[in-house]
């Protein structure tokens, strides 16, 4: 009986290389075609503008307009505010949930996990209408307060807090899952070792758990920021008419004002902000790989 050499099974380095490159080529080409090219094209269309004679020349006019137009700046600023507040609230809400799920045992923890993941299965449009029905004028909360003789609430619906409530609810599952996966890397024995040397709950959280999951927090924040910055449905349905977040702003500029160049400019600016957080994420992944 003869044994097949291992090199014949896995392929030699030389013969394996073209197959490996071929396997990678398809997604790389797809990314280049569907993502990289549209980015380059979009940037090109905003800096090569036709003049009155129809001749295209380099111009930063659309950007100059965006950064001098108060309405555009207000929209950018409300988008930044909403994203920042949502990211902060998500960390504050999801970290205790993830800590509970990581360290609690029993059936209740399983129910809490199910509840925390549930928003992932609810489409944004349904969530928007649910928020309106609960928190909107004459919504459930209003009716309940009214029935016991209390005054109407000042509904957050159609204020900047409307999208914040919806976006936070919508992003809880992803944030919890990312934090939970980070907490999975904190071993029980390292927690016990800290307790053994005298660490109470706060010291444990501050000195042992948070430093170990800082990467996961960064990834969670990057993901939520990327999603929220360019969110459309929730800010469109729940947010105020003005100022509006970049998502609805782009759509309205493109469709209602019939100004694709300005809409693309807004998209490029949104992309530039997002890419900063994207780089945070890439850096975090690279750091993890190195470790």
């Amino acid at each position: 009986m003869s044994l097949t050499p291992a090199t014949d099974i896995v392929g030699t380095k030389k013969s394996g290389r073209p197959i490996g490159l071929l396997l990678v080529a398809a997604p790389v080409l797809l990314v280049a075609w569907m993502i990289i090219w549209p980015i380059i094209s979009a940037i090109g269309r905003t800096i090569w503008l036709p003049d009155e004679g129809g001749t295209e020349s380099f111009s930063l006019e659309t950007y100059r307009f965006f950064f001098t137009d108060q309405y555009s700046l207000n929209n950018l600023s409300v988008t930044l505010w909403t994203t920042g507040v949502c990211a902060l609230l998500l960390v504050l809400i999801c970290l205790p949930i993830a800590l509970y799920l990581r360290f609690a045992k029993g059936r209740l923890a399983a129910y809490v996990q199910g509840l925390a993941i549930f928003p992932m299965f609810v489409p944004s449009i349904i969530l928007s209408y649910a928020v309106i029905r609960v928190l909107g004028p004459n919504g459930t909360v209003d009716l309940l307060l009214n029935s016991v003789g209390l005054p109407h609430i000042r509904s957050p619906y159609l204020t900047p807090w409307g999208p914040v409530i919806g976006l936070v609810w919508d992003n809880i599952p992803l944030t919890v899952l990312i934090l939970l996966s980070g907490l999975g890397n904190v071993s029980n024995q390292s927690i016990e070792a800290a307790r053994d040397v005298g660490a109470g709950r706060l010291a444990l959280l501050w000195h042992i758990i948070l430093p170990r999951i800082s990467n996961s927090i960064l990834v969670a924040v990057s993901f939520t920021v990327l999603g929220i910055f360019s969110a459309f449905t929730l800010p469109y349905v729940l947010g105020p008419a003005a100022p509006e977040m970049m998502g609805p702003f782009m759509q309205r500029t493109f469709r209602d004002l019939n100004d694709p160049t300005s809409a693309i400019t807004q998209a490029v600016i949104t992309f530039c902000f997002c890419i900063v957080f994207g780089l945070f994420y890439v850096r975090s992944v690279a750091k993890n790989r190195t470790t």
């Binding site: 024995q189 016990e192 070792a193 307790r195 040397v197 005298g198 660490a199 000195h207 042992i208």
Partner: protein, 345 residues
């Protein structure tokens, strides 16, 4: 005077009793090994002493003070875990200094204490190193130093060398013993390695199903095992089930004079105490295999019913496969109903 008193401690996990009505006192500066197979409850017991598990019933007292429900952070114990459990985001110095900082000691004192304990475990000058730059043995030394730097009243070691290779394990075992004797620190050491327990302990507690089978000096546990389980667990032992009738134990042609009442019994003979001699006739047994280890040889013996026994001899060349032999136990013990009924030394 005892530093640790465990009284009638039981720990149940749903329907299973991990530790069952366990009682033990440990004296000042004593090194006690909790020895037993997996699932015997030794780690659970250690975790109850450390405060990581709360007993279902019973009491744990340290220096006379009841600590049964005191959390680990408030107990005067230091635990070394099997997996080292070092904090990888801190360097060696910070790992050791963490507990001292929580106690709000001045920086200069922290530095002095950490450096002193690093010297003690042979890691002087390693303070700035990242924990993942250390070998397995060095990591375990850091874990030991992290516990020692807080000067605990009781040091708890939960199979600390299980993940290390044999050579390193033996070296660290000696170092731990040296440090323990130098500091005179009361120590409980959990292991399922009998050689580790025999080499380290002042006293061995053999556990089975959450209970004590025997608690005694290592030489006593080895030479006078209280039960057949201890006899079989510590070292290599030939255990033969047979019958005693008219002062003789018999099993398939193997007969030994045994001054005990008639009935079933288990005979326990160490290989080094089982002498083999060439049979004059058919013999009690036959040689099955001879394994030469250079310094000694192990002879596998087969009784007529197929039961295998082991004998240790100094000369392998005297014996060969199939040779008929007679057996002469020089020292043995006999057990009935899980208790010794006779010892011959």
């Amino acid at each position: 005077m005892s530093v640790l008193d465990i009284k009638n401690v039981t720990k149940s996990f749903s329907t299973t009793k991990a530790v069952d009505d366990f009682t033990l006192s440990v004296g000042d500066g004593e090194l006690v090994c909790l020895l037993g197979p997996s699932g015997s409850g030794k780690s659970t017991l250690l975790r109850m002493i450390g405060g990581f598990e709360t007993p279902t019933s019973g009491h744990v007292a340290i220096d006379g003070e009841d600590v049964t429900r005191v959390p680990p952070e408030k107990r005067p114990t230091g635990m070394v875990f099997q997996s080292h459990a070092l904090w990888t985001h801190m360097n060696v110095f910070k790992n050791l200094a963490f507990g001292l900082k929580l106690r709000r000691l001045p920086e200069a004192e922290i530095k002095r204490k950490v450096e002193a304990v690093l010297e003690l475990v042979g890691l002087g000058g390693f303070g700035h190193r990242a924990t993942n730059q250390l070998s397995g043995g060095q990591q375990q030394r850091v874990a030991l130093a992290r516990s020692l730097v807080l000067e605990p009243k009781i040091l708890l070691l939960d199979e600390p060398f299980a993940s290390l290779d044999q050579h390193l394990r033996e070296r660290l075992r000696e170092e731990v013993r040296d440090i323990q004797q130098r500091l005179k620190i009361t120590t409980l050491f959990v292991t399922h390695g009998q050689d580790e327990a025999l080499a380290l302990a002042d006293r061995i507690v053999v556990m089975r199903d959450g209970r004590t089978e025997q608690a005694d000096r290592p030489d006593v546990v080895y030479r006078e095992p209280a039960t057949p389980f201890v006899a079989g667990f510590i070292g290599t032992m030939n255990l033969v089930d047979g019958t005693v009738a008219n002062g003789t134990f018999t099993h398939s042609g193997f007969a030994v004079p045994l001054p005990a009442g008639d009935g079933a019994a288990t005979l326990a003979v160490r290989p080094e105490a089982l002498e083999i001699v060439s049979a004059t006739g058919a013999g009690m047994a036959k040689i099955h295999r001879v394994t030469d280890y250079g310094t000694h040889a192990i002879v596998d013996i087969e009784l007529p019913d197929g039961t295998r026994l082991k004998s240790m001899t100094s000369e392998a060349r005297d014996w060969s496969h199939g040779q008929p032999i007679d057996l002469r136990p020089k020292a043995f013990a006999a057990y009935r109903d899980n208790a010794a009924i006779h010892r011959s030394n």
